[in-house]
Structures are given as structure tokens and as C-alpha cells.
Amino acid sequence: MKKYLKPYPDKCIACRACESACSMLYFKEDSAEKSCIRISENAAGNDINVCNQCQTCVATCPTLALKVNAQGVVMVDKNLCISCYMCVAACPTKSMHRYMNGLNPFKCVACGMCAKSCPTEAIAIGQE
């Protein structure tokens, strides 16, 4: 089973409520740089970047700090992470993040808080 955040970019209006909800939940501040979900506005339309729980990063971690939980979600164990960011470089969707002067990388854990904040249902929790 894999729980993940499913994006519907066609519905996205780039209000960025999801970014605010995410960064407020995890970092207690409203900052797109500290959001696990990222919205970008392009000529072709809006894009939603968020982890699809593909687990590529898990195989790259030298300390086994990236683990898959029972719901199929990749979690960062902050006690084991040594901030090398090999996972950030290896992520095929660029959905593993770091922030200025921080240590641990961070990523979407499919908590669904952003989906609740989205006014257009452009993101939803999915399962495979």
C-alpha cells in the first residue's frame, strides 16, 4: 500500500494556501521555502510539485535515516540523518527539500493538511 498526495494541476489556481498550511504545520511559519508542496506558475499552467513516495531516496541514504512506514510513506528519521543531502540530489521529482541554514532535509509525509486547505480540490490523498 502506498499513501501519497495526488495533484490535479488543472484545478490549481496558485493561491498557495497549500504551501502556507504545510509550512505553518511543520515549521510554524508561512514560508514557501519551508513547504513540502511547491506551486509554480508557468505559461502552460500551474504545476504542483510534491513527493509521490517513489522511495528512490530511501536507497541512497547512507545512514538508513529514510524509512518507509506502514502506509508506504517515506519518513526522515532526524536522529539518524546527518544532513548529507544525497537524497535531495537523487530525488527524481525534486520533492526532497532543504532550507537555508537548516540541517535535516524535509519532504511530504502525506498528512493531508494541504489538501484540506485547498479551495479547488487540486490535491487529494491517494492510495495505491
Partner: protein, 720 residues
């Protein structure tokens, strides 16, 4: 491994002495103290690191040499108690952001050369010892019985124990001590061990193994401080192992002044590797073994003791063969955060010979040097034989490079009848006889038979064969691939004058870690004049010395290149990556740095090492002369195998018409020409390095670079 007797072995340790120290954070890459241990008298103490020591010697190899200089006398031999093994780490060592940042540098007075040797080695011991509180570890004296030194970096305690029951061979002893000293099962990754092996009790061509616990494989991996016989000194001091435990590693344990730059620079390189490695060097798939067919294609892969550089049989050791043996898709960095991930391993390998026959083991490597030294150079073409030689070399504590070159020399002597089966005690040293080669290794471990003789290295074998077996000493000198007493590493330098210098002018002996110029010189003809070559033989040794000052690995510098590197002014220098080093140095230490200052830091330590060699009785021009095998064809068969090339060289370079000349006469003219060229090269290099024609650093140069310390000048003046 079977851990049932771990507690019993630990219970048999006897504490000889203990030292408690204050735990303090590393600040800007430095602890500002080193750890001194005297094994003769069980003394453990700290030494303060002054501003001047940092200014002049930086860290890593610089600290090693400075501490060792102060410890030894001019007359000190490798097995005198005052000789030291010093292990240091450098200010950038242990950062988890920039690939290749976990290196330790080991120095000692070498049993092979009598001068300082330095080895750059991975594994977790260096970073953990640094984060335990020390910028270097100095080991002096000799214990009365086998001991271990344990550094508990979590509690601030250093202890010396007797350790009578643990094994000597590294693949076993590393795991024994890891299990003994880990706080609990599951925390093995916080312990690292330095060990050697049985052979270090008997022979000189030995190494040290630095471990790291591989969490995925659940085994101790082993990285080698390979050159110069460090294992022999280690065992002569009756050290069974050094053990460190440190559990507090984080991404900022070095306390850099600018972590943002450090992280961003490292991440940029991670991304380059992620994108480029699979089309460039394939380090993640095969490590340096990817070079096997490249070297063969360019006539650079040594076969039959460096007679030839190319052969059809080399397909047997093609990198795809090693790739098939290496477990794929595992992050194989020897320190955390190295995404280049080159230290490949063969899992569940079952040796077919020796004491571990049939037991599944994890073998680190083979790397290129081992594939060439213990494979092609011995005319062994089964990759599994190479893996087995690699395994036993590592666990017995034998240097695969010196083993390969020494054995190749013995095999060539066997081919010529200089030695025969009577001399070898029944070993048939025909080219390609892997069984005999493995038996040589087992003899080194058991301390018996012809293995002990080969294990003395090429220089001592030459003397022995000439004196005892009345061999032609000129021939032995020509084919014995050693200089300064150290065996050559595994590249053919016959057609590259610059690489002949790169090898033979290297301070510790002919290792390619100072300069690898074959493609620049021989293939791409980018350094055609003596002055060009001299500039390269100044810049690259200085640049590469810097890795050893900082605790860095060379490989992420040019075994991955930025996409646009070829369009830069000096692609051989990989300018973007040099800038990375400048940036991360300042990011960690807060000190100013640029590309010129980087070279100047190295020049100080490099010249200090040069003067150290002079002080110990080496370091002179006569020590910088290669055997002719490194320069051209020694035998008629070598000449004839590449006759067209050599005839052309005679005609176009030596201005001699080869037509009508005998092969012997052509060989003589070519030899005279090449030695003359080499002499001119040495003149040019010495001049560029600020040395006299005899290879002595001038007082002016030492003053200019800031290495005019009174003790240095005192030594230099003896030779001017």
C-alpha cells in the same frame, strides 16, 4: 559473524592506563589539540595546537609531519621506538556535505624507504577521532604485549588495554572490536577500528585497514592506508587495533562558519554526480575498476611486470566482469555524504584457498590498482582470482600495490631463471599461476617460505638475488619497479616523460597520487616542453597535496566533471571544482582562501616533507632516478613488440636513423636519449619547485613560501 565469544574476549582485556579529557565541540574544523600516546610507558596526554601550527601546517599530513619531525631523530629507523605512526584528519574532514570528506592521513618512517611515507585513507576512524576531540593521533613507543587503544569520544576517555584473544586478521578483528565496543546491538556504526593483519608480523609491504560499519550489509568494510609498510610499524609497536566510538555525528559537527555555502556547494556536486557519473566514470557502478579497459586501450595497463601495456587477454578483467561481481545500487561511500560512492564490494565471496576457504566474506574492491597489480601485471585474468588475492591482502594487512609489483618482479626473475623452483620452495611462479600467488600470500601470513622474501619488497629482493644467486644486478635494477624503496603503482609510464617524473619525483616514492599526467602528456600533447611539464609537475603535486592537508579525497575533484568543463581555460585542473574547494575551506574555517593561497598552503608542507626526507637520509637527486623499465624497453622482446613506435622515436626524437642498426644498438641509443630527456626534465622541475640542481630547497624559496623555520633551515644548510 559469530558474536557468542565477544564478552569473553572483552573480559580478558586488562586496563593498562586511562586518560580522561574534557569534551569540547570542534570549532571551525579544529579541536586545537592533538592526542599523544606512548606505548612503551603508557603515557597519554594532550598537545595544544597553536596558531602557528595551523598557519604553517594546516592539518592532515601537515600536522602528521610536524608531530613526527619533533618526535624522531635524524638516525631514527622504522623499528626504533621513537618512530611514530601519526594519523590526522584536517579541518574539512568529517563534513557530511561535500563528497569525499572523510579521509585520514597516516604517516610513519617507512620500513621500505626509511623516509616519511603518507597514506590517504577512508573509513570512519578519522572523522570519529576528530569529533572525539583531537586533530591528530600520535603513537610512539612499543608496547610489551599486544594492546588496543580505545578512544571513547562520547565519554571523553582514552584507554590502553591488553587484548590477547582477538584475531589479528582485519576482516575478523574489525568486527570483533566493533561488537565489543558498540553500546548495544544496532549501534555498530558508531565504532571504527584500525587494524592490520598476520602478515605485518613478518613482511614489510604492509598496510593498515580503517573500518566503517556497513549498515545495509551488516559487515565491517575495510579501507586501506596502503603504501610504505604502515602495518609493519603498527605491529612492531604491538598494536592490535585502534578503536574509536563516537555517537554524536550531525551535519554541523565541524561547526563551520558558513553552513549554507558548505551545503549548497556539496549539493551542487551531488547533482553533478547524479547526472554525470553514469556517462563519465561509472564510479557508482564499478569504482576505479572502470579504468581497466581504458588503460588497456591506451597501452597503459601493466602486464608481466610492466613489460607491456596492452594484451588481448585483458578482456578477462574488463570492468564489466567486476561490475558483475559488485553488489549494485548500494550507497558505497567510505564516509557519509560521498555520493560518488566508489568503494564497491563483492558480497558473500567464498575463497577457494587458505584459512577462510569456503567461508562467505565481504571483499572491498578490487579497485583499479588491485585489478592491475594483482591481475594483469601477474598475467592473472580470472576476476575471482583477483578478488581472492584482494581479500587475503586486505585481511592479512598486505598492500595490494606493493604485493602486485613485488610478485611481478619475482615472476619475471623466475621467467629468466634468476630464481627457480628450488629458490621458491616449490612454488611455480609462472606468469598467471594464481595458486602460487595466493600461496605466497599465505606464506607471508604464516611467516614462512619464499613469501617472506617477496614480502620484503623489490629493493631488498634485488639485493638478495644479486648477492645470493649471482644475478645480473644491472638487469635487476632495470626491471625492479621501485624507487626510493617503494614499489611503483600500476600505470605504464614508458611513453610519458611527464609521468616518469610524476612517479619518480614523488616524495614518498612512486605513487601516482602526486601527479597523473599520462593523458595530458602522451595522449593529448598538452605539455610539450620541459617547462610545460615542469609546471604540471609543480601544480598538480601541490594541488593534490592539499587534499591530504584537509582530510579530503582526490576522486570527486576530477573523476566527475562539470558538463562544461571541456570549454574552460584549463580543463585538466577542473576549475569549477577547485573553486568549490576554495569555497568550502572558507565556509568551514572562516579563513580567506583563493586558488593561489591553496597552492601556497601545500608548498609549505610539501617542502617540509622534502626536507624531512633529506634529514632522514633520502630526498636527493640520486633517489629520483627511475628504473629503466619505467622509461623504455629493457629487453629485446619489449623493443620488438613495439618496434615501429621505438624506431619512430629514434628517427624523430633522437635524430638517429634506425635502418641497418641492430636491436641492441637501437635500444642503447633510445636508452641514452630517454635518460637524457629525463635529466633535463628533472632540472626543469627542480627549478620550478625552487630547488637546486641536486634537489635541495633553496633558502630563498623556503623564505618566500614561509617555511623558513629554524629547524628546517638547519637541515637544509647541511646540503647546500
Amino acid at each position: 559473524m559469530d558474536t557468542s565469544n565477544i564478552n569473553a574476549m572483552k573480559a580478558n582485556h586488562r586496563l593498562l592506563t586511562e586518560y580522561k579529557y574534557d569534551l569540547k565541540p570542534v570549532i571551525k574544523g579544529y579541536n586545537r589539540r592533538t592526542l599523544y600516546i606512548n606505548l612503551s610507558h603508557n603515557i597519554i596526554k594532550e598537545k595544544y595546537v597553536s596558531d602557528e601550527m595551523i598557519e604553517k601546517f594546516v592539518g592532515g599530513k601537515g600536522f602528521d609531519l610536524k608531530l613526527m619531525w619533533d618526535a624522531v631523530m635524524d638516525t631514527t629507523k622504522w623499528n626504533d621506538p621513537e618512530n611514530e605512526i601519526v594519523i590526522s584528519f584536517g579541518p574539512l574532514c568529517g563534513n557530511t556535505n561535500y563528497p569525499g570528506s572523510g579521509k585520514s592521513i597516516v604517516t610513519t618512517i617507512s620500513p621500505l624507504t626509511g623516509i616519511p611515507v603518507d597514506c590517504n585513507v577512508g573509513g570512519h576512524f578519522g572523522p570519529y577521532t576528530k569529533f572525539s576531540g583531537f586533530d591528530a593521533l600520535e603513537l610512539q613507543g612499543k608496547a610489551k604485549e599486544d594492546v588496543i587503544v580505545f578512544i571513547d569520544g562520547d565519554k571523553g576517555i582514552v584507554q590502553i588495554f591488553t587484548a590477547p584473544d582477538e584475531d589479528l586478521n582485519s576482516h575478523i578483528v574489525a568486527e570483533q572490536f566493533i561488537h565489543e565496543f558498540a553500546d548495544e546491538p544496532g549501534k555498530e556504526q558508531f565504532v571504527s577500528v584500525v587494524s592490520s593483519g598476520q602478515a605485518s608480523d613478518h613482511v614489510l609491504i604492509t598496510c593498515l585497514n580503517f573500518s566503517f560499519w556497513d549498515k545495509r550489509r551488516q559487515v565491517a568494510r575495510l579501507k586501506q592506508a596502503g603504501r610504505g609498510g604502515t602495518g609493519t610499524v603498527f605491529r612492531d609497536k604491538h598494536i592490535k587495533a585502534l578503536v574509536v566510538k563516537y555517537s554524536g555525528l550531525k551535519g554541523d559537527t565541524n561547526h563551520p562558519v558558513d553552513i549554507e555555502t558548505l551545503q549548497k556547494t556539496g549539493l551542487r556536486l551531488h547533482k553533478e554526480i547524479e547526472k554525470g557519473d553514469s556517462t563519465q566514470c561509472h564510479m557508482r557502478e564499478m569504482g576505479t575498476a572502470h579504468l581497466m579497459e581504458v588503460m588497456n586501450d591506451y597501452d597503459l595497463l601493466p602486464t608481466k611486470n610492466f613489460k607491456y601495456g596492452q594484451t588481448d587477454e585483458a578482456i578477462g578483467l574488463h570492468s564489466k566482469e567486476f561490475k558483475a561481481l559488485f553488489t549494485q545500487g548500494v550507497p558505497d561511500g567510505c564516509w557519509f555524504g560521498c555520493s560518488l560512492s566508489c568503494c564497491k564490494a563483492v558480497d558473500n565471496f567464498k575463497p577457494r584457498t587458505g584459512p577462510y576457504k569456503g567461508q562467505p566474506v565481504c571483499v572491498d574492491g578490487p579497485e583499479y590498482e588491485t585489478g592491475a597489480g594483482c591481475g594483469s601485471n601477474l598475467f592473472i585474468w580470472d576476476p575471482k582470482d583477483v578478488v581472492e588475492i584482494n581479500f587475503y591482502c586486505d585481511t592479512y594487512g598486505v598492500d595490494t600495490i606493493s604485493f602486485g609489483t613485488s610478485t611481478a618482479f619475482a615472476m619475471e626473475c623466475y621467467e629468466y631463471g634468476i630464481i627457480d623452483i628450488m629458490h621458491t620452495g616449490g612454488l611455480d611462479l609462472e606468469w598467471g599461476n594464481a595458486d602460487a600467488v595466493l600461496e605466497l600470500l599465505h606464506q607471508m601470513a604464516r611467516g614462512e617460505g619464499f613469501g617472506i622474501i617477496v614480502g620484503q619488497g623489490v629493493r631488498r629482493m634485488k639485493k638478495l638475488f644479486a648477492e645470493k644467486y649471482c644475478a645480473d644486478s644491472d638487469l635487476l635494477h632495470d626491471i625492479g619497479m621501485e624507487a626510493k624503496g617503494l614499489e611503483y603503482s600500476q600505470y605504464m609510464s614508458k611513453e610519458s616523460l611527464a609521468q616518469q617524473g610524476g612517479y619518480t619525483l614523488a616524495l614518498k616514492g612512486p605513487q601516482h597520487d602526486e601527479a597523473w599526467l599520462i593523458f595530458m602528456d602522451m595522449v593529448n600533447n598538452l605539455i610539450p616542453t620541459f617547462e610545460d611539464k615542469a609546471e604540471a609537475l609543480h601544480y598538480f603535486p601541490m594541488f593534490r597535496t592539499w587534499f591530504g592537508l584537509q582530510g579530503l579525497c582526490k576522486l570527486p575533484w576530477n573523476d566527475i566533471e562539470p558538463e562544461d568543463n571541456a570549454t574552460t581555460d584549463e580543463p585538466a585542473k577542473v576549475p569549477e571544482h577547485v573553486q568549490n574547494y576554495v569555497d568550502i575551506y572558507t565556509a568551514v574555517t572562516g579563513k580567506p582562501m583563493d586558488k593561489k593561497m591553496l597552492i601556497r598552503q601545500s608548498e609549505r608542507v610539501y617542502n617540509f616533507q622534502k626536507v624531512f626526507c633529506l634529514r632522514m637520509g633520502g630526498g636527493k637527486r640520486i633517489d629520483d632516478i627511475p628504473p629503466y623499465r619505467a622509461m623504455g624497453p629493457v629487453t629485446e622482446e619489449e623493443y620488438l613488440s613495439r618496434q615501429e613506435r621505438y624506431d619512430k622515436a629514434l628517427k624523430e626524437k633522437a635524430f638517429t636513423n634506425p635502418e641497418g642498426m641492430s636491436v641492441q644498438d637501437k635500444m642503447k641509443v633510445l636508452r641514452t636519449y630517454r635518460y637524457n630527456q629525463y635529466d633535463q626534465l628533472v632540472d626543469a622541475v627542480y627549478k620550478r619547485k625552487g630547488w637546486t640542481k641536486e634537489g635541495i630547497p633553496t633558502l630563498e624559496h623556503l623564505k618566500e613560501i614561509g617555511m623558513d623555520l629554524p629547524e628546517v633551515l638547519e637541515v637544509v644548510k647541511r646540503f647546500l
